[in-house]
């Protein structure tokens, strides 16, 4: 069945354009490295334009052929179904809704930022580097689009391998250990999810006699509460590792710290978001009853992550480790928002994925730029850098304020929505998470002041941000401010997806 052909084909482009251009870049880039750079950038810019066009169509600003009108009954704006393994009911099924589209736009944006951040810094095996970047981005786009669980697992694994290479080949001092740790953590989680998916498909086929891996069909599967909880935990394990949720976060500081700048940007900005996306798209709708029962635990883990990540961020000496732990803290808000099951909290969680993606992605670009200049990430060796690099300092200041959650930046809107939505469910969790906002102030000010204020502890001679770096960071900051004052485009875009998930939860059916 080929539903809504026009729109559906476009969805495949999100995955195949980076794949094909990345491959072409690898082949051509062996002679002339510049090809791989430009082709990868072109793929991301193409996807960005594609997302923008679809966005305008979905928002009803322009008529777009093949795109379902919003609110037309189907949750999907566009779908693509191509049979793959008919015997098992596996099909190459993609579906686009507001949530997917938001994440695809973010992927293209951060993908472009990542390429630009690596523009001159990568000198070793350049073509293969950009091929890996393209491959991981294609995998991420697949994750954001797949509506067949088998296909989803395929893309889930597809993101993993190139990321492993990015860390292991182009990383810093302890890259091998960090890469293995990243691989093992993610793989164990992924395996548990795979087991759960297969079990769910088996249970479904036993009940109905038909094999299928389609999300839509599996959603109605009736299982006992205990089985439902076990299967849900299988999904949760995979997504909680990726998110990362406390106490499964420990791979993240190592991976972040050792990855090359572009890798950190993609890791923090996008890969972590697949965890949140997976919870919203799969774990919760497939197992609403189990998710409801599990919610208090998830909320507890979220709050623990917010506070623990914040405390850890304060004492780190490695700049990238600081940012990594702030991610643990801020992704706690995503987990909190998802399991509060209120419109504000869930919208806030989605918005938090966007705001954290942009702000932390930009922060990694900045830290990378600084490391390229002084060849260290050790905060104890910095200090007083403002005098030499005021532009970099100003960018760092804004991004640290994003960590703090200063109003006027989109991070504030998302955190505020999560907290106001959680208050209705658990005031205690809200207050404890609010404590995280104070801790955020403490670590963000330390990060900024230690590097840029005070007296220089060592003599560095460094140049301020280049035009390319300034442009990248300026774009990110402009978006943070724009959505901070007017987040409605994103909130509108995800409204239907959010209410869909909440409707499933509220219906009370399923496992």
């Amino acid at each position: 069945m080929m539903a809504v052909a026009g729109g559906g084909i476009l969805l495949a482009l999100f995955i195949f354009v980076p794949l094909v251009l990345g491959l072409a870049g690898w082949v051509l880039g062996r002679r002339q490295a510049g090809f791989s750079r430009w082709l990868t950038l072109a793929a991301n810019l193409f996807n960005l334009c594609l997302a923008a066009v679809l966005w305008l169509g979905a928002a009803g600003a322009t008529h777009f052929p093949g795109l379902a009108a919003p609110g037309a009954g189907s949750p999907w704006l566009a779908e693509l179904h191509v049979p793959w393994i008919p015997g098992l009911g596996v099909s190459f099924s993609l579906g686009l809704d507001g949530l997917s589209l938001t994440m695809l736009g973010l992927t293209a944006l951060l993908g472009a930022m990542a390429v630009l951040s690596a523009w001159t810094g990568i000198t070793k095996r350049v073509a293969f580097f950009y091929f890996n970047i393209s491959l991981v981005l294609a995998g991420i786009n697949g994750v954001f689009l797949a509506t067949d669980l088998f296909l989803f697992v395929f893309f889930w694994e597809l993101m993993l391998v190139p990321m492993y290479f990015l860390i292991d080949i182009w990383g810093h001092e302890n890259r091998h250990k960090a890469a293995v740790k990243f691989f093992l953590f993610t793989q164990v989680g992924g395996l548990l999810m795979l087991v759960a998916i297969i079990a769910l498909a088996v249970l479904h086929s036993m009940a109905t006699g038909a094999w299928t891996f389609a999300l839509r069909d599996l959603m109605g599967t009736v299982v006992s509460p205990v089985i439902g909880m076990l299967l849900m935990l299988g999904f949760f394990a995979a997504f909680a590792v990726k998110l990362p949720a406390f106490p499964l976060h420990t791979w993240l500081p190592d991976a972040h710290t050792e990855a090359p700048t572009a890798g950190s940007v993609i890791l923090a900005g996008l890969l972590l978001k697949t965890g949140g996306y997976g919870l919203i798209r799969f774990a919760v709708p497939l197992f609403p009853a189990a998710s409801r029962a599990f919610a208090p635990v998830a909320i507890g883990l979220a709050v623990a992550g917010i506070v623990y990540g914040g405390i850890m961020a304060y004492s780190q000496k490695d700049m990238k480790r600081v940012v990594a732990y702030t991610s643990v803290s801020h992704l706690g808000f995503v987990l909190l928002g998802i399991y509060a099951f209120t419109p504000q909290a869930l919208s806030g969680a989605v918005l938090q994925m966007v705001s954290h993606g942009i702000s932390t992605g930009a922060l990694f670009v900045l830290v990378g730029a600084l490391q390229d200049r002084i060849h260290t990430r050790d905060l104890d060796r910095m200090g007083g850098l403002w005098a030499q690099v005021p532009r970099m300092g100003a960018a760092a200041l804004v991004l640290c304020m994003a960590l703090v959650g200063l109003p006027g930046l989109v991070n504030f809107v998302s955190e505020f929505l999560v907290l106001v939505g959680t208050w209705q469910v658990s005031p205690v969790a809200t207050i404890l998470a609010g404590l995280g906002l104070v801790i955020a102030t403490v670590y963000a000010l330390r990060l900024f002041q230690t590097a840029f204020h005070g007296v220089p502890r060592e003599t560095w001679t460094l140049a301020d941000l280049s035009a390319r770096e300034t442009g990248t960071l300026f774009l990110a900051i402009a978006l943070l401010v724009l959505f901070g004052l007017y987040p409605m485009p994103i909130l509108h875009m995800v409204e239907q997806s959010v209410s869909g998930v909440l409707a499933v939860i509220a219906a009370g059916g399923g496992a």
Binding site: M312, T342, P390, W423, L435, V438, L445, H453, Y486
Partner: protein, 642 residues
Amino acid sequence: MLSWTWCIPALPLAGFLLLAIFGGRFPKGATAAVGAGSIGLSFVAATAASAIFMVSPPGGGSFTLVLWQWITVGGFSPSLSFTLDALSVVMILVVTGVGFLIHLYSTRFMADEEGYSRFFAYMNLFVGSMLILVLAGNLLLLYLGWEGVGLCSFLLIGFWYKDPENGRSARKAFIVTRIGDVSLAVGLFLIATTLGTLDIREIAQKATSQWQTGSTLAVAVAALLLGGAVGKSAQLPLQTWLPDAMAGPSPVSALIHAATMVTAGVYLIARTNALFTLAPPVQLAVGIIGAAGVLVAGLSALTQRNIKRVLAYSTMSQLGYMFLALGIGAWSGAIFHLVTHAFFKSLLFLGAGVVILALNHEHDIYAMGGMARKSPFTFWMFLIAAFALTALPPTTAGFASKDLILALAWQSGSAGRVFWALGLAGVFVTSVYIFRLVFIVFAGNPRTAVAEGAHGGGGHAAGRDGMQAGAAMGIPLAILAALCLAGGFLSLPHDLGGTPYLLNFLHTALPAETMPETPLRTEWTLQLVSEAASVLGIPVAWLVYRRSRRVAAVAARPAAIVRFLQGGWGFDWLYDRLFVRPFVWLSRINRRDVVDRISDGVGGLFMLLSRAFRWTQNGRVRWYAAGLAAGAALIVAAVVLL
């Protein structure tokens, strides 16, 4: 008619953007023109808006301008909206008016500093945020301004960023106020979820109709808002950041830490007076915090050696009077004192700035002296401000507002009498600390050589007097002094002619004080008693001054009680041990992340197991056979036994 009011905050913000992006390339003149000019234009706009507002008041006494819908999710839909009513009109006039004078002064004061454009960028951002705060018709937008001014306060306290001590003070200010901010935010969550709105007008209406007076919900909401207010306004128990905030340049202290930002807490409580009226215990707490703050801070001011720290404690003490007024429901009285305080306290800080610059950034008052002869103009300006602070004639500003607060306190029941007594004691202490400062700094002989064009190009300007320093620094001082002299005419007490213009105007936005008809004799008596306390302070201050000259000469270690007061009653010491050290310790001890050790442990366990199993694969057939036999025996045993 008023739909253009958005440009009142937009002008300073535009100035900020210009300076932030192009400031580095501007010559100093252009920077000054943009920096001060944007505030000047904003003042013009604010004046025009106020004039229109007063000439043709909008229906209901308030005008609302909705810019756009900020957020809409599931019934929660705060908008970006500005409200112009009597309260915000008064606030924007103070913020832009005093703000412009301080910017003008700064064009000269900061002339020799590195980061001239950075300074004005921060200052413009501050004024823009402060204007958003006072114009916001919605608590969420108010919160945006609230956090914005906090950021600017942080940036400007740490303006001289090369000194780590300044950075520490800046960080402290941000973090301590942020604790209050989170309390305020939690208050917003509570309001949003129970009343379904953050619009200030709707909150007042809904709360009044839905909540019982003294109900738990009302008390909780008011208490959380109060948490925010004490943080921003440096009141007990979150007051510790303000003295350290004096690390910033003097114009910053004048604008942010005297005239405007620190009064945001007072503004917030006045703005949400309906909620505090519904929560009598919290309102009483506001009064207690204020009355205690008057004395706690006043006594600390008495012992300080740093000229700006004296003024900082003085600010805390004066804010205490405003809280006291709020505590007895004198909303307009609190705002009146906010206005007059903005005049005299910024004049004190700007005057102190001239002295500090003249003495090459000397802050220790024991190193000063004889400035009256060296800088007669500054001396007279400072003296006028000191008179206004102590509510003595011929100035009217402080007298009219403080007298009003004390008179209202006297008349508001038994708690009010206690507040009155504490406030009266505060009047005496105020007089002592400020005249001690005046005598030490301006009387006697100079102890530090006055810089005569010694340091850099601007030294000639700073070295001499405010008046000779040029119009840029002299004119703001003179205008502020004029306001100190005449400010009381905004609302003179009714036994002295009674010109309650400002109070009547404010009463269109705030509930009027329930003031029983007072006999004229009581009013006279109260005024005379308070004036007597002020006058009595002057000779006492002289005695303190005489003694201090001797003490300073021998550089004696001060008595324990003096050290206790100097250190701000040990709050810093206590908080350091209660919060700072445990947090830092916890964070440091766990730097390597104990959770990570667990996952490493799992990894280690697998290594151990793999080594153990490797040992079993040793290739000896006899071992394998033994293993097989043992396994078979085990299985057989299990089957038989079970």
